[in-house]
């Protein structure tokens, strides 16, 4: 195995994790929460679409935005490319690895064979760093896996060139240059401003705090969409999965964002942000309670009308809290 010297570390989230690891490798000392916050990663959206087997919600901004916002705000230059031809995509990755360059690539999570089977679902926007290769396999640094992992060559090819919604098309990226002097204060304030703006001001009825309210309203109607009580229980328990287990750092990225606010407060010496960080942590704890609650009532099949009403009320409360929080945060950085 030809292996690039690369520090592997688990991360809360795959995209912020790969970007952070690549920048660290390139010599920029920065933490995952800082990358996540500066890139305005925090978000909410409720979706009903035939792309998904059931209504679902997201708790972060659009895949790819973390990298794009980091380029804009830190002035880091990334090489990015996607491919129409599979051969070219394979060739380019291999030649970059041969140069000794770790490369991030977009994959369908389903083919990450080293993960436990029950976790592997078709999800086209997973990001990994590729850090080595031999005749049979690639060496992978995956934010969700404890160690570096080997992945059979044909599986990585499949994962990179699978079809479907948001097909990866072999997309790959790596940092080309990192500026010497970064204006962190400006980057932090811009990152916060955009996140707060998108949470409270977007005129779209299913995103931001409006999305949280939509989720609260719609969840009581989920029994009509489910095949049976077990299916309903499964979908309710997936609330916990979306908030906790799908690479969020806990509480639907709210813990990660609280950590960002604390680190940002120290970096630019802003006591107000420090206070906001504590409040975000408390909001995260409330989301975490919703996760536990959803897991418990799902497991017990305790899914009557009144119980789902209770869940709905808990979610409505989060909309109010986050509206207040992000309105204040927006004023602070305006």
């Amino acid at each position: 195995m030809k292996e690039i010297d690369f520090e592997h570390k688990m991360a809360a989230h795959c995209e912020s994790g790969t970007v952070t690891a690549l920048l660290n490798h390139g010599g920029l000392e920065i933490t995952e929460p800082m990358i996540f916050g500066i890139a305005s990663g925090i978000f909410f959206g409720y979706f009903e679409s035939s792309v998904f087997s059931f209504p679902m919600f997201i708790v972060r901004n659009k895949p790819g935005s973390i990298r794009k916002n980091i380029i804009k705000r830190l002035g880091v230059n990334f090489y990015t490319r996607s491919f129409r031809s599979q051969e070219k995509g394979i060739e380019e990755l291999d030649s970059l690895l041969a140069e000794g360059r770790p490369v991030a690539t977009q994959v369908d999570f389903y083919y990450m064979e080293y993960m436990p089977e029950y976790l592997r679902t078709h999800m086209n926007v997973h990001f990994i760093n590729v850090i080595g290769k031999n005749e049979k396999s690639y060496l992978i640094s995956d934010s969700y896996y404890k160690e570096k992992a080997e992945l059979r060559t044909e599986l990585l090819h499949k994962a990179r060139f699978v079809g479907g919604n948001m097909a990866p098309k072999g997309f790959l990226f790596y940092p080309v240059s990192i500026p010497e002097n970064i204006d962190f204060e400006k980057a932090i304030r811009k990152g916060i401003k955009k996140a707060a703006h998108d949470m409270i001001k977007l005129p779209v009825p299913f995103v931001g705090v409006k999305g949280i309210r939509k989720f609260a309203k719609k969840v009581t109607g989920w029994p009509d969409l489910a095949r049976d009580i077990d299916h309903l229980s499964h979908e309710i328990m997936k609330i916990n999965v979306f908030l906790e287990d799908q690479g969020t750092g806990g509480a639907g990225f709210r813990f990660l964002y609280a950590t960002f606010l604390q680190q940002a407060a120290q970096k630019i010496n802003d006591a107000q942000l420090e206070g906001m960080s504590k409040r975000m942590m408390a909001i995260g704890d409330d989301w975490r309670n919703i996760s536990y609650f959803a897991a418990r009532i799902g497991k017990n099949r305790d899914l009557g009308e009144s119980r789902l009403d209770e869940l709905s009320q808990m979610i409505y409360m989060m909309a109010d809290k986050e509206q207040e929080f992000f309105t204040e945060l927006y004023k602070m950085v305006k």
């Binding site: 688990m10 991360a11 809360a12 995952e32 929460p33 679409s49 035939s50 792309v51 998904f52 087997s53 389903y110 436990p116 029950y118 976790l119 679902t121 078709h122 934010s143 969700y144 404890k146 699978v162 079809g163 479907g164 919604n165 077990d230 299916h231 229980s233 499964h234 328990m237 916990n240 999965v241 906790e244 287990d245 690479g247 750092g249 806990g250 509480a251 813990f255 990660l256 609280a258 950590t259 604390q262 680190q263 960080s277 942590m281 995260g284 704890d285 975490r288 996760s291 536990y292 897991a295 799902g298 497991k299």
Partner: protein, 157 residues
Amino acid sequence: MKEKEAQINHDVHPLVLYVEKEDGTYGRLETASFLSKNYLDDYFDKVRKWDAELKEKLDKGEISPVYYYMIMLEMGEGDLASRVGISKWKLRRHLKMKAFEKMNLRMLRRYADVFDIPVSNLLHFTVIKEKDQHKLKITYQKATSNPYISVSKIETV
């Protein structure tokens, strides 16, 4: 969330949480999934039940194998259709036996590729009795470069 409350030991599904440390700072903690640790059996029970129910419906010809795999893999109709490269309308017809039985082999193969199974699995299930499951397992091998021909191997564990 406090660091102490977040610590879970469970090797199968590790993850990173951001938590409040003893000194009041927030930072990363390598821990594990609360859900996987506590409720995984319940999930597997459900999967077994769905599998049995859907196979019964297959038996009666009420659904097609495409429907079976779509549900078991939790794929949305829109997503599956675009992965296979057909319209949603056509996919919906393939969920019933009436259109499924008119499908040609090439189309069957496109589904099989997306479901990540040998083509033959769309027409055939091999099941090992529960009492023998600790002794035997099924491993697939594509014996030739012909994508339509697969060899199922049953091996002792």
